[in-house]
Amino acid sequence: MRAVAGENVLKLTRRDVLSLGFGATAAMLLPARPAMAMGDAIAIYTNGVVPQAASAGSLRLGLPQIIGDARRVPVVLEAVQARRLALFAKGAPSVLLADVRFGPRAGARRFETSVRLGTQDTPERGADAVQDLVLVAEIEPNRFVQLETAVSLSGGGYAN
C-alpha cells in the first residue's frame, strides 16, 4: 500500500484490503489486554526520557531475604535525592506497582509498603519464578535514574 505523493490519492488494491482484514482478525484473536511492556510503562512514567543507571548507593530497593508469600512482599524504596519514585515489576499484570511523589514537607526520600510480586508466567519445573524489578527515581526535573533487581519467588502472587 502506498500513498502517491503529490497526487493526494490513497490507492488501495484488493490485496491491501484483504490483508488489512486479516490483520484486524489477528489483532482480535490476541489476548484482549496484553501486559504492557516494562520499557513502555517506564517511558510513560518518565515522559519518554530514558533513565540512566543509578550510581552506587544513590538508589536502594530493600527486599526481604526470603519471599514466602509473593502476594505481600515488604519493599523499601529509598533514594538519596528524588522528587518522585516508582516501582515496576516486569511480570506483573500491571507493570507499575506504585508511584510516589514527595512534597515540600517530605523528610528523607524513603517509602515502605508491601506489593504483590507474583508473575503471570509459569516457571519451569523445579525452578522458582523470577520477577524483574526496576526502581525509577526522578532526581531533578526530567532527569531519571533507575536500579534493576531480580528476585526469585517461592509463593504465588496475583492468582489469589
Partner: protein, 137 residues
C-alpha cells in the same frame, strides 16, 4: 390488632455498610496512623499509615466463579499543615491492607500544634481520612 409494620430503616450505603462489608474477620476500614506525639521543629519523623482494604485486583475469581471487579485504593496523600508530605498513586500491584511508612519534615513555631491530614481514595468512591495533631517543641 393489626398494626402497620414498623418502618424499615433505609439501606445504609455509606460508611457503615462499607465497614460491614470490609469487616471480614479482623479487617476494619478505619485508618490507623502512627507518629510521635511531639517533635522539634526541623526534625524528620517517621509516619506509619495503614488502612485495611481488600485491594481487589480485578483478576481474581470470587466464590461464585465470577471475576471480582477491580476495587483498590488508587491514591493516598499526606499533608502537614496543608503542605504535601507525600502523594502516592497505587496500582493493583500493591498488597491488600497496605501499610505505608515514610518521613515527614516537621516545621512550625515552637509550642504550636501541627496537623497531619491523611486521605485514601478507592475505586468505589470511598474516601477515608484521618487528622492527627503533633506538638511542635
Amino acid at each position: 390488632m393489626a398494626e402497620t409494620p414498623p418502618e424499615r430503616p433505609a439501606p445504609d450505603t455509606g460508611a457503615t455498610a462499607l465497614r460491614a462489608r470490609l469487616n471480614r474477620g479482623p479487617r476494619q476500614s478505619t485508618p490507623k496512623v502512627t507518629l510521635p506525639k511531639s517533635a522539634r521543629s526541623g526534625a524528620c519523623v517517621a509516619v506509619r499509615a495503614a488502612l485495611c482494604h481488600p485491594m481487589e485486583t480485578g483478576r481474581r475469581a470470587g466464590d461464585d466463579g465470577q471475576i471480582v471487579p477491580r476495587a483498590i485504593i488508587h491514591s493516598f496523600s499526606c499533608l502537614f499543615n496543608g503542605e504535601t508530605v507525600i502523594d502516592v498513586r497505587f496500582e493493583p500491584g500493591v498488597s491488600p491492607d497496605p501499610e505505608l511508612v515514610f518521613e515527614a519534615h516537621i516545621d512550625g513555631a515552637a509550642g504550636s500544634v501541627g496537623l497531619f491530614d491523611f486521605a485514601w481514595q478507592d475505586d468505589e468512591g470511598h474516601r477515608f481520612s484521618a487528622r492527627v495533631p503533633i506538638d511542635i517543641l
